[in-house]
């Protein structure tokens, strides 16, 4: 399918369908497809991307609701919890049980990581943007692509189901450390809920694996003529490297998941040491290693942290450049930084285990590699600043979200240095400092990046704009409430408040933190409800948004040359790429943007700055 006609002849054949590639014949004629083929089991990357996007937005609300449950308990410990308390714990006066609290935060993390952050970045934007930005008509393997979306649903189903089985949902934390998660008797959630959790994560793993193989193949092999590697937008670079991380780190977790599943069901003992007595069940036999899981888990899950960040970095780079109306500062260093983050990302996993009792020499090694991974992140930040400096900044909704990304990422990145330093980590490990850190990165950075990206590419998805006023109101409320919720967590952590305590005030030295926690909870509630603005804006704009043409932001990328929304096969003429995506404010041009596909006759080229 990707045998594009040579570029110069492409102009002659704007009748796209007349090419009639073999691969297109099966789905080349939209009107012949049934509703199901078109919108439900679609193999079109755009439909799949939007399916991912809507699913993850809904899951975002679910995960947010779970988080509010956690926050409620921290503010009003063991008092009536709205809704859940009334429904499930009426006899106790509506106070939730401690194990329910452990389920709340476990499933909050699970939903947010596996059903929101990873799929919204890789699934939603990866799918929607990759072919559009590299000038392909679809993914390399459209059916695989469809499967990767539909493999998410069994996971959603199993996670949901796990709340209703005996013992309830998984309660071992999203890190799922054995033996707590490997021995059924160790916690209520370690019964069938844990098994369902593992099955769900395996489905997510398969889904991600299919997606990442697809992305890598597409990006390597299906770029439009002229789209060299160093003319790819940062988004594509980030997606590419994310896919590599995902493809080569995730199988390790899947394998570990199978092992723990075997430990739970067929009596193996990879992660269960011998001689344990848990909840008076018979003493365990064997001799496995509890720490082994942590190594395997973090071998995936540390790269996963970058999987949850890099694509947002890429998208933010694109938005920052576009709305600063200025070329991206240091394109190649940015690319190398991403690559360095990915490379180093494979050898820093041990920093999650500094106090787990592993070899101190290993701890030292991991500390140095962890410190070094801060470097490319710093370089990226400086480059973003460089991009804005000297620009002509337009404060659109995507832009303010992107600025928030930079600002919040700085906080999250800097707090990371504390925990990268092992001796300090001895103290702050497993305290709220960590919670603050990763929420600044995952929410403050990634999610604000996603909010920006939603507003930015919405016109491409639907041919209509999202409402700017609503977008800005959503941003302001979210941003303030976000900082009110998560910045104080640094203080909680410094005060030594451990994570995952259902009742921290059980410890007298934490009692005085109660009012602060209540303030944070109310901020979180405001933040949670603010997301309804986004949802309303999103869904209403699909119908009522202002109609726009192909390139509402005057951006350079290939996707803006396609119709909005792009039809089947994306481009009405096969794009040919002449330069990098960041040629804004080019001297000697009337306009301040210079699309990648714009052809410049030879005699004019001297006057126009060369692209990459």
């Amino acid at each position: 399918m990707s045998t594009h006609a040579p570029a110069d002849t492409a102009h002659a054949h704007d009748d796209h369908d007349s090419h009639g590639h073999a691969a297109h014949d099966s789905h080349g004629h939209g009107h012949e497809l049934s509703f199901f083929q078109k919108y439900v089991f679609s193999t079109d990357h755009k439909v799949i991307g939007i399916q991912f996007l809507i699913t993850t937005l809904l899951m975002l609300m679910v995960g947010g609701a779970l988080a509010l449950g956690v926050r409620w308990q921290l503010a009003y410990r063991f008092s009536t919890m709205p809704i859940v308390g009334q429904l499930v714990f009426a006899n106790e006066g509506g106070q939730i049980s401690p194990e329910f609290y452990t389920m709340l935060f476990t499933m909050h993390a699970t939903v947010m990581i596996f059903l929101v952050i990873i799929p919204i970045l890789a699934g939603a934007f990866g799918n929607f943007l990759i072919p559009l930005m590299i000038g392909a008509d679809d993914m390399a393997f459209p059916t695989l692509n469809m499967l990767s979306y539909w493999f998410m649903w069994p996971a959603i189903f199993f996670f949901g189901l796990s709340f209703f089985v005996e013992g309830g949902a998984s309660s071992g934390g999203w890190t799922n450390y054995p033996p707590l998660s490997a021995i059924r008797a160790a916690a209520p959630g370690s019964q069938d809920g844990q098994t369902l959790w593992l099955i769900g994560v395996t489905f997510i793993g398969v889904s991600s694996m299919m997606g990442s193989v697809n992305y890598m193949t597409t990006i390597i092999n299906m770029r439009a003529p002229g789209m060299t590697l160093f003319r790819m937008p940062m988004t594509i670079w980030a997606m590419f490297i994310t896919a590599i991380l995902q493809a080569f780190a995730l199988p390790v977790l899947t394998a570990a998941g199978f092992m723990i599943l075997a430990d739970r069901t067929i009596g193996t003992c990879f992660f269960i040491p011998g001689g344990l007595t848990v909840n008076n069940t018979p003493t365990t036999v064997g001799g496995g290693q509890a720490l082994l899981w942590q190594h395997l888990f973090w071998f995936y899950s540390h790269p996963a942290v970058y999987i949850m960040l890099l694509p947002a970095m890429g998208m933010v780079s694109d938005m920052l450049s576009c709305f600063s109306r200025k070329p991206l500062f240091g394109y190649k260093p940015m690319v190398y930084s991403i690559a360095a983050i990915a490379g180093l990302g494979f050898i820093v996993w041990g920093h999650h285990m500094f106090i787990s009792g592993m070899n101190p020499a290993l701890g030292m090694t991991f500390m140095i590699s962890t410190m070094m991974i801060a470097l490319p992140s710093a370089v990226k930040t400086f480059n973003w600043l460089g991009t804005m400096w000297g620009g002509n900044i337009q404060f659109t909704t995507p832009m303010i979200n992107s600025i928030a990304f930079v600002s919040m990422f700085v906080v999250g990145g800097l707090s990371g240095i504390f925990m990268a330093a092992v001796p300090v980590d001895i103290y702050i490990h497993d305290t709220y400092f960590i919670v603050a850190h990763f929420h600044y990165v995952l929410f403050g950075a990634t999610l604000f990046g996603c909010f920006g990206a939603i507003h930015y590419w919405f016109p491409k998805m639907w041919g209509r704009m999202m409402n700017e006023t609503a977008g800005k109101i959503h941003f302001v409320i979210s941003f303030i409430a976000f900082n009110f919720t998560f910045f104080p967590m640094h203080f909680l952590g410094a005060a030594g408040m451990p994570r995952r305590l259902a009742d921290p005030y059980n410890y007298p030295y934490l009692e005085h933190l109660l009012p602060l926690n209540q303030f944070m909870t109310w901020s979180a509630i405001v933040m949670g409800f603010a997301q309804f603005i986004l949802l309303a804006n999103f869904f209403l704009s699909i119908k009522y948004g202002k109609r726009v043409g192909r390139n509402p932001w005057n951006a350079n990328g290939l996707e803006w040359t396609a119709p909005s929304p792009p039809g089947h096969g994306n481009f009405d003429i096969l794009p040919v790429v002449y330069r990098g995506p960041y040629e804004y404010a080019t001297p000697n041009l009337d306009v301040d943007y210079f699309p990648q596909t714009q052809y410049v006759p030879v005699e004019q080229r001297v006057n126009v700055a060369h692209g990459h």
């Binding site: 399918m1 990707s2 045998t3 594009h4 006609a5 040579p6 570029a7 691969a23 390399a140 393997f141 694996m209 990442s212 193989v213 697809n214 890598m216 193949t217 597409t218 390597i220 092999n221 299906m222 770029r223 439009a224 003529p225 002229g226 789209m227 060299t228 493809a247 080569f248 780190a249 995730l250 199988p251 390790v252 899947t254 394998a255 570990a256 199978f258 092992m259 075997a262 067929i266 009596g267 193996t268 003992c269 990879f270 011998g274 036999v285 064997g286 001799g287 496995g288 290693q289 082994l292 190594h295 395997l296 071998f299």
Partner: protein, 312 residues
């Protein structure tokens, strides 16, 4: 996603079809998948102060493993030849070579299941291997009890009796009574026959832990000689330290490898079916090549597993 015809010169990327590239990348993820298993094996093995290596204890059959290695290598050759045949247009030959590959894969699985059978025979299964003398004895007691079948019968006795006591419908009572009588007779009959003084003595001493393993083995042998019902009790072997961990890793690695073999067999069946239907053509070249790539990978994994599990 096949590329039967030539590739445009303006095409970006690497000069191989998408499907093949995808397969390579997929195999990359597979390598990481097995790396996790092999890494686990190495870590638990090096991390354990002991490891059962004696083949008499672990019932590992090096010869079988070696034959299997040879079989897999042969099958890799035949799959290459099949691919070559498709390229050259000898589709029947390709099909036949595929059948050969499939047969070799079956041979591999056959030998594998023979090995598994041995493991089951000696109960070298995860969670089943006793690691101390007392565990050996406890396991014997458990199996003796299962062999008599009395536990289940007595359970039945109680539930029928309870059912009878709860039953208010007079008409149903006689049937329950009759059933209870049958169970009662069974219990007392079996008990009289199997719960001999020797049986009780062995059981008691085993539970108290005051009997030597050799004596227990002898006593068990005698019981088995007298009552064939006890033949299901596994022979008494010495405790195997880290035997459970060994069994866990062994079954995990070979099991997932075997699963991959089975999936590969599905691929071969696909090609054979295409051949039978006469639809195998040049356009399947990439497909056959991809299946071949996959199979080479399966072969390669085995080449790692064989020395790791069987030899060192």
């Amino acid at each position: 996603m096949t590329h039967g015809h030539g590739v445009s010169t303006l095409k970006m990327g690497v000069p191989i079809p998408n499907a093949k590239l995808g397969m390579w990348l997929f195999l990359g993820t597979e390598i990481m998948f097995f790396t996790a298993f092999i890494g686990t094996y190495i870590v638990v093995r090096l991390g354990s102060p002991g490891w059962p290596t004696d083949t008499h204890v672990t019932h590992i059959n090096i010869l079988a493993g070696a034959i299997n290695t040879f079989v897999l290598i042969c099958s890799s050759v035949s799959v290459v030849l099949a691919h070559e045949a498709v390229h050259q247009g000898y589709f029947t030959k390709a099909k036949n070579l595929m059948i050969l590959t499939l047969v070799l894969a079956c041979v591999f699985l056959g030998i594998k299941s023979f090995e598994y059978y041995g493991k089951f025979q000696h109960d070298i299964l995860p969670g089943h291997v006793p690691e101390s003398n007392q565990q050996v004895l406890d396991k014997m007691v458990r199996e003796l009890d299962v062999a008599t079948g009395l536990t289940a019968l007595r359970q039945r006795q109680v539930s029928v009796a309870n059912e009878l006591a709860k039953e208010t419908n007079e008409e149903r009572k006689p049937r329950l009574k009759a059933e209870l009588d049958v169970v009662n007779t069974n219990v007392s009959g079996i008990s009289k026959k199997l719960e001999t003084p020797e049986f009780n003595d062995l059981r008691r001493k085993a539970l108290a832990g005051t009997i030597k393993l050799d004596d227990a083995a002898k006593a068990l042998e005698k019981l088995q000689h007298d009552h064939p019902e006890f033949k299901v009790v596994h022979e008494i072997h010495k405790p195997i330290l880290y035997g459970n961990l060994f069994a866990s890793t062994y079954f995990l690695m070979t099991g997932f490898h075997a699963l991959h073999v089975i999936i590969g067999m599905g691929f071969f069946t696909h090609i054979i079916m295409l051949g039978n239907a006469g639809r195998l053509g040049f356009e399947h070249g990439t497909l056959v090549e991809n299946y071949g790539l996959y199979w080479h990978f399966v072969d390669l994994v085995w080449i790692f597993l064989f020395p790791l599990i069987y030899i060192i």
